[in-house]
């Protein structure tokens, strides 16, 4: 029975991780800012569900609290702010990113492969049923980084950062069944505050530059 449980747990967690990663890659494929926010919202919802699954199978009830806070913060609060921000600024689409869609998707695939290579020692060490999803978590971190580097709209960069944080939370969930609760809550607080600050700055950028193209942020030279 325990073995069946383990197998089910393993499959559910890998499935969940794959869906989370998929939503991250969706950022590279869609072009409208509203769809980025939606992708992040769904990703966070699946991630919260994943925390519930890990909490249930891993017998750690603190993770239920983490899941609730995660859901409240990243599915309800932050996407609402993001949508409002996007509506106020009025920018609809990510025009031409530094790397086009097709190349981005190929590179995303390569990044996930790279993540598999890099995490081989980590996966082989773990005895947890969730270890199959670890490369996907690292892959999501890389994809988040890629979004930040190659996208031109400041708002997209903010979403990329939030996706990066999701990747790290996924890593913590799958690798260690979460981190000590007090640290987890501190992290959430930091993410919330960091997000609020970034949000304020997107407004500032819009009002000083009349655009949120980070291309225009080139005043500072030698």
């Amino acid at each position: 029975m325990n073995f069946m449980n383990d197998a089910l747990f393993s499959q559910l967690s890998t499935l969940g991780a794959s869906v989370v990663l998929f939503f991250g890659i969706a950022l590279l494929w869609r072009r409208s800012l509203h769809s980025y926010v939606a992708a992040f919202k769904w990703q966070s919802a699946v991630l919260a569900l994943l925390f519930v699954i890990v909490g249930y199978f891993g017998n750690d009830h603190e993770l239920y609290i983490v899941a609730i806070v995660l859901f409240g913060l990243k599915v309800l609060i932050i996407p609402r702010y993001l949508d409002r921000l996007q509506a106020r600024i009025g920018i609809e689409r990510e025009a031409t990113p530094y790397v086009n869609v097709a190349s981005s998707l190929i590179i995303a695939g390569l990044l996930v492969l790279f993540a598999y290579a890099v995490t081989r020692p980590v996966v082989s060490l773990s005895t947890l049923p969730t270890r199959g999803g670890l490369p996907l978590a690292i892959g999501l971190i890389f994809v988040g980084l890629f979004v930040i580097i190659t996208r031109k709209k400041a708002l997209t960069q903010v979403v990329g950062f939030l996706v990066l944080e999701n990747g790290i939370a996924l890593l913590a969930a799958l690798g260690t069944y979460g981190i000590p609760l007090i640290v987890e809550l501190g992290v959430f607080l930091d993410v919330l505050m960091g997000f609020l600050v970034m949000q304020v700055f997107v407004y500032h950028i819009q009002s000083t530059f009349d655009s949120i193209d980070v291309d225009r942020l080139n005043q500072l030279r030698h």
């Binding site: 020692p121 060490l125 790290i168 640290v183 600050v197 700055f201 950028i205 000083t208 942020l217």
Partner: protein
């Protein structure tokens, strides 16, 4: 009762922030209260240092021993609190004349004090998770202050700062999680697993490959905040656009705190790997930072950016020292202290120059010695100090660095470092010359305004000269204790 010292350390900045928040609109007496309150943490830090130097056990405090003050923490605490006092003493809004509105000043004082509190939590945290939270908090609080005046340049600088540093910090968190992962795989989950002494004790049994990967994330992550190349791109912008006191704290102290985080992890990873892995990484990145900084200094046209590049140069030197074994660690920590005294002074003086000349271009500043003799003189002295000339302290620490490099068997590396330092030397001297001499522009008021204000900076110079001529025994004891913590043979 040494445990209560933690409260004296951490509570005053929070109180100061609360006061600044509550008093609306901002009034100058708030600024003065903040400056005076910042003397209490300075006293607490010195008390910790004395306690540790006397050979006592490192005191702890808080649930789960959240806070701990060993030699390394004590040194950083002294650096942070002394720079904080200087920064708050020179903050805008203390003396009537200012270009900022009361709203901006209120925001400034609240954020600065929260920033100081966060740095102090970071260096006294015993738990690497709390360390991470505090370092992230410093990014957030300082980001409120950088664009105090909402110019295009300030907004650009702040955006780069918050984005690059948050990404960096997120990567550092991934590294923290990986380290925790390794511990958990070995010993199962534990509430105090992220406590540094616990990690250190378990370290020899942790897995090398995982800790290698974790350290890469940690170095890139915290290295972003420390201004280590190639993650330094936010630094010249942010440090030059921020108000002078914040730049003083960021350059003098925040870089040191991020380096401190790297050092804490280095000790753990070294105990696992028992090889030169971390040393090699630090040497490589340190050299790269020095290289980029030296050549950027040559091209610098803005004197605040010039100071920022100098900070990158010195962070590079500290990294190099950390990669060179016990002698190098001694040199690096001494250098960290010297830099934390010299750099804030430079930024404060640069602020005064900006206030008078209304420009940050080196070419448009001339005749500084005629226009503001005391400011100009101190500025010159500080630049000579930062170049590494005797009789200032940085000469001693750089000399110690070279000694460590040769002892560790890296003569070619030290040759390269020497060459790069020479490049930086020439660049800084020539920029300084342009600024000090020559005819001042028309219509510039001559003579110091409220010259008495810069009196505390003479104290900074005195400290630098003392450190350059002698090595006080308590300091040597402290540094030796730190080396014992940091560079286990």
């Amino acid at each position: 009762m040494i445990h209560m010292n933690f409260i004296l350390l951490l509570f005053p900045p929070l109180l100061a922030a609360l006061l600044a928040f509550v008093v609306k609109p901002y009034r100058p007496f708030i600024g003065w209260i903040n400056a005076l309150l910042s003397l209490i943490p300075l006293g607490a830090a010195l008390r910790f240092a004395a306690h540790v130097i006397a050979g006592n056990e490192a005191p702890t405090f808080g649930p789960g021993e959240m806070f701990r003050a060993d030699g390394l923490s004590a040194l950083l605490m002294v650096c942070v609190t002394s720079a904080a006092f200087i920064a708050l003493f020179f903050s805008p809004g203390l003396r009537g004349e200012t270009t900022y509105t009361p709203r901006q000043l209120r925001r400034y004082h609240v954020s600065m004090n929260l920033f100081i509190a966060a740095t102090l939590v970071a260096v006294s945290a015993n738990n690497v998770g709390i360390l991470w939270i505090a370092v992230e908090a410093t990014t957030i609080f300082s980001a409120f202050v950088i664009p105090l005046a909402l110019t295009k340049e300030a907004v650009e600088a702040s955006w780069k700062y918050i984005l690059i540093c948050s990404v960096g910090i997120a990567l550092a968190f991934a590294g923290t999680v990986l380290g925790y992962f390794d511990f958990v795989t070995l010993s199962g989950r534990a509430e105090n697993a992220l406590n540094w002494p616990v990690l250190l004790e378990t370290a020899p049994r942790l897995h090398p490959e995982v800790m290698q990967l974790a350290f890469v994330f940690i170095l890139i992550g915290y290295g972003t905040k420390a201004g280590i190349a190639p993650m330094h791109t936010w630094l010249p912008d942010a440090h030059s656009e921020a108000p002078a006191p914040l730049s003083a704290m960021m350059s003098g102290v925040l870089l040191a705190v991020a380096t401190y985080a790297i050092v804490r992890w280095k000790v753990v990873v070294d105990a696992t790997l028992r090889s030169n892995y971390t040393n090699n990484l630090l040497l490589a990145l340190g050299l790269l930072s020095l290289l980029i900084a030296a050549f950027s200094l040559v091209q610098a046209q803005n004197y605040k950016r010039m100071l920022a590049y100098s900070s990158i140069e010195h962070t590079g030197l500290i990294c190099l020292g950390l990669g060179l074994g016990p002698l190098g660690a001694f040199a690096a920590m001494l250098h960290l202290l010297n830099h934390a005294v010299a750099k804030p002074m430079l930024f404060i003086l640069a602020g005064r120059v900006l206030h008078r000349y209304h420009t940050t271009e080196i070419d448009r500043v001339s005749g500084l010695l005629k226009v503001m003799p005391w400011t100009g003189g101190l500025f010159a002295a500080a630049i000579l100090a930062i170049i590494g000339l005797p009789p200032f302290g940085l000469f001693i620490s750089e000399f110690a660095l070279f000694r460590a490099g040769f002892a560790a068997g890296h003569p070619w590396l030290m040759g390269a470092v020497l060459a790069l330092l020479a490049v930086a030397f020439v660049a800084l001297i020539s920029h300084l010359n342009k600024m000090l001499y020559g005819a001042p522009a028309e219509g510039l008021a001559v003579g110091e305004t409220s010259g008495w204000q810069i009196a505390p900076l003479f104290l900074s110079v005195a400290v630098l000269v003392t450190l350059g001529l002698t090595q006080p025994a308590p300091l040597t004891t402290l540094l030796n204790q730190i080396v014992a913590i940091v560079a286990r043979p």
